[in-house]
């Protein structure tokens, strides 16, 4: 049976002035988590807050989330210190399907770098071929960058001057060919990356974000428009938390 876990924060560090990297002990979540899945974390506000799983250490039974401060809940959570008790639901949602033998292009913008970090971690350890392209506003915003990544900045003060698609354009034909694209970031970016993938004949998956309450599929508040399965209907409202957050790009109605 699934459970709501009462966990402890094990460590916290600030990645930049408004982004915290928080390690939480929960062996059950650490052992079950897949890249692209998320957790729902309690704070003193009424509802929990959803965060993509950013890293997992099965040995120590911990996982990490990156928390960018945007409001009251995230300010509180980013200020948590080791020892803090939190209630956590997870791992939640459908993550990315990672198959041995396939190769991947991982693309991240904004807080999308966190789930992409986990995907990279898993692929690296399983020897799955992949490249990572990440876009930031400017140099200061770069978090969890890795020398192997292709980085872009809108401001041009680090990496390639431009956005993720400009980064993708620097990939060699070989890198692109037969890859599966996985993208997490703001909507316009995911749309652009999805279109880039389509124009290169690649299958793409995107991770949708929506305001949530339960995170487990019972309240239907977190829906996004997905192409209807039944003929005659324009679209279905699918739950980001349970049916997603990862959806095939071509099924999302933008």
């Amino acid at each position: 049976m699934r459970k709501e876990y009462r966990c402890n924060v094990v460590s916290k560090c600030m990645l930049n002035t408004d982004t915290a990297f928080i390690e939480i002990k929960c062996p059950e979540i650490a052992s079950a988590a897949h890249p692209g899945q998320f957790v729902n974390i309690s704070c003193s506000r009424f509802l929990k807050r959803p965060f993509g799983i950013a890293s997992v250490d099965k040995d120590s039974g911990t996982f990490k989330v990156g928390v960018k401060v945007v409001g009251k809940g995230t300010s509180e959570i980013a200020a948590f210190e080791a020892g803090q008790e939190v209630d956590v639901l997870g791992p939640l949602g459908n993550g990315f399907v990672i198959e041995a033998g396939k190769k991947y292009i991982l693309v991240a913008g904004g807080t999308g770098v966190f789930p992409v970090n986990f995907a990279h971690e898993v692929m690296a350890s399983e020897g799955i071929e992949h490249v990572v392209v990440e876009g930031f506003r400017c140099k200061d915003q770069i978090v969890l960058g890795d020398p192997s990544y292709i980085l872009t900045t809108d401001a041009g003060d680090a990496g390639i001057h431009g956005n993720c698609c400009d980064g993708l354009d620097t990939l060699s034909e070989d890198q692109v060919k037969d890859s599966v694209v996985m993208c997490v970031g703001p909507l316009p970016m995911m749309k652009a990356v999805g279109n880039w993938a389509a124009s290169h004949g690649l299958k793409a998956y995107v991770s949708m974000e929506q305001r949530m309450a339960c995170g487990i599929g019972i309240c239907l508040v977190c829906v996004c428009k997905i192409k209807a399965e039944r003929a005659g209907e324009e679209f279905d409202h699918k739950r980001c938390c349970k049916d997603g957050p990862v959806f095939p790009f071509e099924e999302v109605i933008w």
């Binding site: 459970k3 709501e4 009424f46 509802l47 305001r211 309450a213 487990i216 239907l220 508040v221 209907e233």
Partner: protein, 305 residues
């Protein structure tokens, strides 16, 4: 006293007073991953309509102090799909099968009864949601007009002998009149309360947080209003009351039952802590053991000043 937490709502026997509230448990599939739903008294399905509904677009939830607003807008697969795909599942759960019925007009509700009545062996009660904002009678909802309530309930009554639980909206001047109208129409019970109508404003965008502008307010914040309405109605009704609104622990359940509820529904609390009904059930059993009382004997024991 074999099971001290068993209760009765009219003819419906429930092994526990805890029913999962409509719209906060879907049809049970997801919560079954968290606990065995057979410990519950019942589960009330997501509100169903004749046709499938995609519900409202955009942002559908706004957090508030001690509660939340939702504007799901009755997203559901439609009653036919439900009967074909989910009714058997609900039937298998081992708790009372409450089917929540919504509609946009008198005819809608009648059509719903016609669809559901033939499946009465798989249904313990029909919960009739009379607080849908878009109905034939005009801009005011059926649930705030006693004449309409009485008409619709008595018309349903003629179509089925399934227990009819009428779920009322708290957004009215006098809830007693509405509850009495339901009783006069032949209701078997009333469910108090559905959500309060609320709004939240995003001060940066200067737009309502919810794309539907307003939403239904639920959670601990609404409990004092719900308790007051249960108590008011208990004083005038002959039919049982199912209490609902902000319940999040066993003490809340006792409060509702003392005020007049024969059973209760848990809504928003499941969204915050999916397994809270498990804890509440254990705590209620514990309370019965310690006090030597059965829960059903609590109903309406409130002594007013």
């Amino acid at each position: 006293m074999s099971n001290p937490i068993s209760v009765k709502v009219g003819s419906v026997e429930l092994k526990s007073p805890i029913i999962l509230a409509s719209g906060t448990c879907n049809f049970g599939h997801e919560l079954s991953e968290y606990y065995d739903l057979s410990i519950l008294g019942g589960l009330s399905s997501k509100g169903l309509t004749i046709k499938p509904r995609v519900g409202n677009p955009g942002v559908r939830v706004a957090e508030t102090a001690a509660g939340m607003l939702n504007s799901v807008g009755l997203q559901n697969p439609g009653v036919d799909y439900f009967i074909e795909h989910d009714l058997d599942y609900m039937d298998s759960l081992g708790c009372a099968r409450i089917i929540n019925v919504a509609g946009h007009s008198f005819d809608d509700y009648m059509a719903m009864i016609d669809k559901l009545a033939p499946h009465k062996d798989k249904i313990d009660a029909l919960e009739i949601n009379l607080s849908c904002p878009n109905v034939k009678a005009g801009c005011m909802s059926i649930g705030s007009d006693p004449e309409q309530i009485k008409l619709i309930v008595s018309s349903m009554r003629k179509k089925t002998d399934l227990p009819l639980w009428i779920k009322l909206t708290p957004n009215v001047t006098d809830i007693k009149t509405m509850a009495l109208a339901a009783q006069e129409g032949g209701a078997d019970a009333v469910v108090l309360i559905n959500t309060l109508l609320g709004m939240a404003v995003n001060i940066k965008t200067r737009r309502p947080v919810l794309n539907n502008n307003t939403g239904g307010y639920s959670g601990p914040a609404v409990k004092p209003v719900a308790i007051r309405m249960v108590s008011e109605c208990y004083q005038v009704l002959d039919i049982p009351i199912i209490g609902c609104g902000g319940i999040s622990n066993y003490e809340d359940v006792l409060e509702f039952m003392i005020a007049g509820a024969s059973a209760v529904e848990i809504g928003t609390a499941s969204l915050v802590h999916p397994t809270c009904p498990v804890d509440i059930t254990a705590d209620l059993k514990d309370w019965c053991e310690k006090s030597g009382e059965s829960l059903s004997s609590l109903t309406g024991t409130l002594q007013l000043w």
